[in-house]
Symmetry: C2
Subunit: 283 residues, 2 copies
């Protein structure tokens, strides 16, 4: 039986292998400077941090180690958001991989965890928004330089996540008990076919549910809504099965415009991990 | 910097991602019962054994652990041969990843290593030939049941490999100082483009050099030669760049006939590991 850290690494690999995932790197699509092999190397590099979490390390240091390892490839940020979901989920498996347990894990994070989270930003460039005015001192892009301000205000990692909602649907998972991640796991179990097909179906359904917050950050809200509305139409038409050309056209359009629904991929990876751990999908 | 165990796992992932690799599973091709995700899970599962080798464990036990982990997926044998090359190569990195050092590593294996090797066959079905008559008691398909006979004759793992040449080009690497693996690493460094393209080019060139011994075992010598001659023509025509359709036709033909040049993929994986460790390819 695979360990939680192994399943978490495998979830990262299955996520990037799932195809088609319009706008993102997948088994059949690369982007100009971000290729499939960067995600493979990112997953391999993240494993040590995932093992720390499985061994009972605090969420912050385990996350920072995972990001340092993930960043050890030339593609840049590949799986930052996915790991921010996976690390507490892996930590929860020490007791039980359920929504109440992972909710307790994230609510028990400390100021020290928050400091590690800020240090993680020193390892890799992450696409984030300007912070609100009262949070300038805590801009994550300042990395470790923001730690004194963080300590002064006594903010835990959970506090930081709470302040990032709305606008960041990875943070929203932390605040809402990993709702969408667990829902994604159920959808993966209910879908048909090999894991790659299930992954593609669940990615598209998640994208149809809510605008991708990475798209909203890098482009704007209207663009994020447009993408979600298009995804919803494709889901309604069952296009993955009946109109593959429509899916490819959607994908080409997103890639041309530089639109990558990365947050949706992060939630998909979290769902894959939960489904693997619960043996709801076989492999 | 990635550790040797990380690079070895990454080599397994890059090998299966490299496309086109006619007849084998790759980023764009699955077989009926053996799919891309089985190789992803196989690589993830092998990591613990690779870490044992990097930490100085003996070759046999590290290999057995790698195979037990690799086999923890439903596809069956994905990377047995590749791991039989990678484990001693990873072990060699403790001193120096060079041909003389890895040659010393394999020549110093013991009867205990051979026993672990036989135990590895209990974890997974591997495509092997009938043994010669005087070796029936040592048929690897007997798994751990063959260990008493092995101990009685005092055969080391190197002795077993020596007795498997010719007919098994993974064993040949052990006996010939990993000649082709190091040559593959040089070819990967000299090739052009992203790693996936380099992997495809080197796979085809290796297949053109020598008949694949897994093909000879599962089919016959004539078939293995036919495949190699066709590969050599495609290499001579520079078909990977100029005639992708000819490569696809070759691939379709092999898949239809159930021909998988697995040994050539094993040597490709070993070459990828050496190239990553020597930083001869960037990622």
């Amino acid at each position: 039986m695979r360990s939680p850290a192994q399943n978490a690494e495998l979830a990262l690999l299955l996520e990037v292998a799932g195809t088609p995932k319009p706008g993102n790197v997948d088994r059949h699509h690369d982007l100009a400077d971000l290729r499939f092999e960067h995600f493979l190397a990112g997953a391999v590099g993240a494993r040590e941090g995932l093992e720390l979490a499985a061994d009972g390390a605090a969420v912050g240091p385990a996350f920072e180690r995972a990001i340092a390892g993930m960043a050890d490839q030339e593609g840049g940020n590949t799986q930052f958001g996915a790991l921010l979901l996976l690390v507490p989920l892996v930590r929860a498996t020490r007791e039980d991989l359920s929504q109440p347990v992972v909710e307790a894990v994230v609510r028990e994070t400390t100021v020290g965890d928050a400091a590690s989270f800020y240090r993680a930003f020193d390892h890799v460039d992450v696409g984030v928004d300007e912070p609100p005015e009262d949070m300038t001192a805590l801009d994550v892009r300042r990395g470790a330089d923001a730690i004194p301000a963080l300590e002064e205000r006594g903010l835990t990692l959970f506090d930081i996540m709470e302040r990032s909602v709305p606008g960041d649907d990875v943070a929203r998972e932390w605040v809402r008990g990993f709702d969408r991640s667990f829902a994604a796991a159920e959808r993966l179990a209910d879908a048909d076919g090999p894991i790659s097909d299930r992954t593609a179906a669940v990615f598209l359904s998640l994208l149809a549910d809510r605008p991708d917050t990475l798209v909203a950050t890098r482009h704007d809200e209207a663009t994020a809504w447009e993408v979600t509305d298009l995804a919803a139409e494709l889901v309604a038409d069952n296009a993955l099965e009946t109109e593959p050309a429509a899916i490819e056209a959607f994908a080409d359009n997103l890639v041309e415009r530089g639109i990558n629904p990365g947050t949706t991929a992060d939630v998909t990876a979290a769902g894959l991990f939960i489904a693997l751990e619960h043996e709801a999908i076989g492999l």
